[in-house]
């Protein structure tokens, strides 16, 4: 038996229009991956404003596109669009179904990734919650936690499917695990909730599922999106490709895409995605298995089909990754453009004059950041300093961080009078928003590890008939 699963969403902001093409091609499971570190921060700000938010708000559009096929029994939907408020996401999905007059299906909500209610208990149980990137101990967390979530694995989704769920909505389930879950369920693979009972073949199959998930989780990025090869020569580049995997019971998979869409699936496009956001490729840590991304072979079969086989896996670690966010101040930014001649020097002077004026106004700024667009804003120190090469124009972008929103808002206003009264000639404001300096809240990210059994104790699957 071969299971066809699709990556219908790669982030909050992707297009629900992809769903129609995938359903037309025929997929057993439509997996919608909606979360990133940055997304959780956005959702936290939503929830601060309104308790009923905290999920990705494009979910109803995805549901509207997919539910008719779900009700017809043609596909099932698995998504982590629940963000930091899965029950609210489930309510939104149910409302969408009601508005469309659709019923006769089961929707499951996975709960328990939220660590906020348990932080004290975790500490008491001996979990350090230290920052795994910087090594900082928990008592150095710079501000109170705003959200704290564990990256759950596939097991609760498998449980939801076993209870007959047609739609599964989760919070912070690891991206690739969303795709592994239906493979475990359909192929009867071992569930990694009890690692001691698994053998080497079990771990290899789970690792194969994680590789498939990793290749599909960023939607078009495996099929010619964000591609450094001959990107200009890809078919129908405006008709973005969303990927499909055909996965056999032994974990062998073919990565492909609907023939009707643009893009390309080749050895080169697939390997680009394999290492995306990966650290040690021989030890890719997921909540379900440690996958060796250096083990599989990739065979380009032509016609937008690449076969992946031979993935090796090792037992999962006894911890889940956790992500804690804390308030990290307020930022603002402004931009101004200058033309030749001496564009770079004018831009530098403008940034310095702004800084001086902010100082004169008595506004405290904790951090300044200056970028020269058209010169080295992106390339930084990798751009060779060549005095003979004078840029035809330059945009200066100045960003800042203050401890309070009011100060962050005042900084940008110091730029506006400079358009007439600062010496560099040809000061050009960058559009209507460029000089507004509207403050934005910053959130710091604190990655940590949490004993998996302490987290699993709170995981629940709620199934509701619609």
């Amino acid at each position: 038996m071969t299971v066809r699963i699709a990556g219908g969403q790669g982030f909050y902001g992707d297009t629900p229009r992809a769903v129609a093409g995938l359903l037309e091609d025929g997929v057993d499971y439509l997996c919608l991956e909606a979360l990133a570190e940055l997304t959780l921060a956005i959702l936290q700000k939503d929830r601060q404003r309104d308790e009923s938010l905290g999920y990705t708000r494009d979910l109803p559009f995805y549901m509207g596109a997919a539910l008719p096929a779900v009700v017809d029994g043609r596909t099932k939907v698995i998504t982590n669009a629940g963000g930091i408020n899965p029950p609210a996401a489930a309510r939104a999905a149910v409302e969408t179904a009601r508005a469309l007059g659709l019923s006769g299906f089961k929707i499951a909500t996975v709960l328990g990734d939220d660590l906020m209610p348990h932080l004290d208990d975790l500490r008491a149980a001996g979990v350090s919650l230290d920052n795994i990137d910087t090594g900082q101990p928990w008592d150095q967390l710079p501000d109170a936690p705003r959200f704290a979530a564990a990256y759950l694995g596939a097991a609760p989704i498998v449980e939801a499917l076993a209870q007959g769920a047609d739609v599964v909505i989760t919070g912070r389930v690891a991206d690739a695990s969303l795709f592994l879950a239906p493979l475990i369920y359909e192929h009867g693979w071992a569930v990694p909730s009890d690692p001691a009972s698994l053998d080497a073949d079990d771990w290899d199959r789970l690792a194969a599922g994680i590789v498939v998930g990793h290749l599909l989780e960023c939607s078009g990025q495996t099929a010619g999106g964000n591609y450094s090869g001959d990107w200009w020569a890809l078919p129908r580049p405006w008709d973005l490709p969303y990927p499909i995997a055909e996965v056999d019971a032994d974990g062998t998979a073919v990565i492909t895409k609907p023939a009707s869409s643009g893009g390309r699936v080749s050895f080169d496009t697939v390997r680009h995605q394999l290492l995306y956001e990966v650290h040690d490729p021989a030890n890719y840590l997921s909540p379900d298995v440690v996958a060796d991304f250096t083990s599989p072979t990739f065979e380009d079969l032509g016609d937008d089909r690449v076969r992946v086989r031979g993935v090796r896996g090792k037992p999962a670690t006894d911890t889940y990754k956790g992500l804690v966010a804390y308030h990290a101040g307020w930022s603002g930014e402004v931009r101004a453009a200058f033309s030749w001649p001496d564009a770079r020097e004018k831009a530098t002077a403008a940034a310095a004059i702004l800084r001086k004026r902010v100082e004169m106004a008595g506004i405290d700024v904790d951090e300044w950041h200056v970028e020269y667009w058209g010169v080295n804003a992106l390339g930084g120190d990798t751009v060779p300093a060549d005095p003979a090469c004078e840029p035809p124009e330059c945009v200066v972008r100045v960003a800042w961080r203050c401890s309070d929103a009011e100060s962050a808002g005042r900084v940008g206003r110091e730029l506006v009078p400079m358009s007439l009264s600062a010496p560099p000639p040809g000061f050009t404001g960058m559009g209507r928003a460029g000089g507004s300096g509207k403050p934005t809240e910053l959130l710091g990210i604190w990655p940590t590890l949490v004993d998996r059994h302490l987290v699993d104790a709170h995981v629940r699957v709620v199934v509701e008939e619609v």
């Binding site: 990133a36 570190e37 450094s228 290492l275 083990s295 390339g379 972008r397 960003a399």
Partner: protein, 127 residues
Amino acid sequence: MARIALRELCGYRAGDKGDIANVALFADDQDVYEVIVREVTVERVRAHFGAMVKGRVDRYEAANVRALNFVLHDALGGGGPRSLRADALGKTLGGALVRMEIDVPDSMAGRRRARPDVGWADDILRG
């Protein structure tokens, strides 16, 4: 020996996790892979990025896809939701890495990757 920019020999993709960026380099063929394994060292990558990378640089090999993966610590101004960088997610660091020039055997000196032809885009924009 000749000197040539990595852009003529490799593809690239960059991503983020917190304040850590990773940049993968994809060799165009096996000969190129062997050259980049030899030439694109942790030390050279650290020097290339200069002040852009404040922490450690790790390098991993993925021979099955002829790739090197560089992990750049403390490289994104505190990480996506905290960073003041316009490119807070480090999306452009791949392009920045392939600007690096390395020594290659003379047989590779004339390598040049195809340059974009966006005639189709011009057609669209002309309306």
